[in-house]
């Protein structure tokens, strides 16, 4: 028998069977997952659970960006690391765990923090980006490069007992098009630097950031399996893809009696620095460092991605 007549191997049918029989996935959704290249920026409290479920679902390529090493204080929430991996690079620790869970995807380690200098060369290799970082400067940078390279961005954050999630730039469109907002459309001005609290300073309950990371994986699998970022699908079914759904932000408060709430955000902002037709942003200005993200966000100490 010619194995090549089957789009997936026998091992893949067995491994992914339980999700392939879900009607919204199916064989087409599984093949889209296998073709997808996903980038997770930040191998911490959000990145660990997001990566576990995205790798488990069988994406083709999974890249991880992080310049940090594993510390004891990470382990209550960063569930892909381990006590024997303290002082390992987080990207290496995470990829070792992911390979054990699912050896099929190609894993790519980017053992450095995301920066204006490396962002273009890293992000352009992928179809979909997850922002799992820990500071405003990286959030603006990641949103900007996703607009310039036309990538959809799944951005989540958490602190103490609360979490937030937004899917940005869906469908992925160039500056000047009408579509879903970028991070700057929603937050045109960064918060005053002295009001920004990291998980290191403010604290975080492990499964609170965990639930937000898992929700990033839910969104990633929905977006990939539905063909929403698949350029060939867009050509095939352009009628379906023109309807713009409103962009929602998911809010989570563990101590509230109504712990989840979805609120409706604006679409793209006329005059947005990054995504409007009057955009002042270019790959050249970004990579040359003429947009100073750290200064823009008023940071005086070096930024640190948890």
């Amino acid at each position: 028998l010619d194995e090549h007549k089957w789009p997936l191997s026998a091992e893949e049918y067995k491994r992914y069977g339980r999700q392939m029989i879900v009607p919204s996935v199916g064989i087409q959704g599984q093949l889209r997952l296998k073709a997808a290249k996903v980038l997770i920026i930040g191998a911490g409290g959000l990145g660990c659970p997001a990566a576990a479920y995205i790798a488990g679902a069988g994406v083709g390529t999974l890249g991880i960006v992080d310049g940090d090493v594993v510390e004891t204080s990470n382990l209550h929430r960063q569930i892909l690391h381990g006590t024997e991996k303290i002082r390992w690079k987080k990207v290496d620790s995470m990829i070792a765990s992911l390979k054990s869970l699912n050896p099929n995807p190609a894993y790519v380690a980017h053992a450095e923090h995301i920066s204006p200098q490396n962002s273009e060369s890293i992000v352009k290799q992928y179809d979909l980006v997850l922002d799992c970082t820990d500071n405003p400067a990286s959030r603006y940078l990641i949103s900007d490069i996703c607009i310039l390279l036309q990538k959809t961005l799944i951005s989540a954050s958490a602190l103490r007992t609360d979490g937030q999630l937004i899917v940005l730039n869906l469908p992925p469109l160039p500056a000047g098009a009408e579509g879903g907002p970028c991070y700057r459309c929603v937050f045109p001005k960064p918060p005053p630097a002295d009001t920004v609290v990291s998980c290191g300073d403010g604290g975080i309950i492990g499964p609170v950031v965990g639930v937000m990371g898992v929700m990033q994986a839910v969104e990633a699998i929905k977006i990939i399996t539905s063909g929403k970022i698949d350029s060939s699908a867009e050509v095939a079914g352009s009628g379906e893809n023109t309807k713009q759904e409103p962009t929602l932000m998911l809010l989570f408060s563990a101590n509230s009696s109504q712990p989840f709430r979805s609120v409706k955000l604006r679409s793209r902002r006329a005059g947005c620095f990054a995504c409007s037709k009057d955009s002042q942003l270019s790959l050249e200005s970004l990579t040359s460092g003429s947009v100073d993200y750290v200064l823009f966000c008023g940071f005086t100490s070096p930024t640190k991605i948890l």
Binding site: G47, R160, Q164, P191, P192, V197, L251, S253, S256
Partner: protein, 107 residues
Amino acid sequence: MASEDKFNLVVEFSGGLELLFSGRRKLTISVPIKDNEGQAVTVGWLVHYLCNEVMEDSRKNMFVLDGHVCPGILVLINDADWELEGEASYALQPNDNVLFVSTLHGG
């Protein structure tokens, strides 16, 4: 002021902003139908009312900065970004829900 000259709103704080309001996540607030100048009360009026009359914390500039809601705080009127509703000029209606959310950056 007679009670028929007032109506009720629900005001909520989330994302840690409740810590600036004595830990309260949800308040029911009675507001006048017209402000001192006889105009319909707006969300802009509400922001200053909350800052001046309700907030006990002294860190007022973590909520209102230079006369505007601090960058990084989203304002949602009935679960929609206030920019969809006319921002600070939105005229409040009885039983409106106004949610202030502090943006989080941790991960």
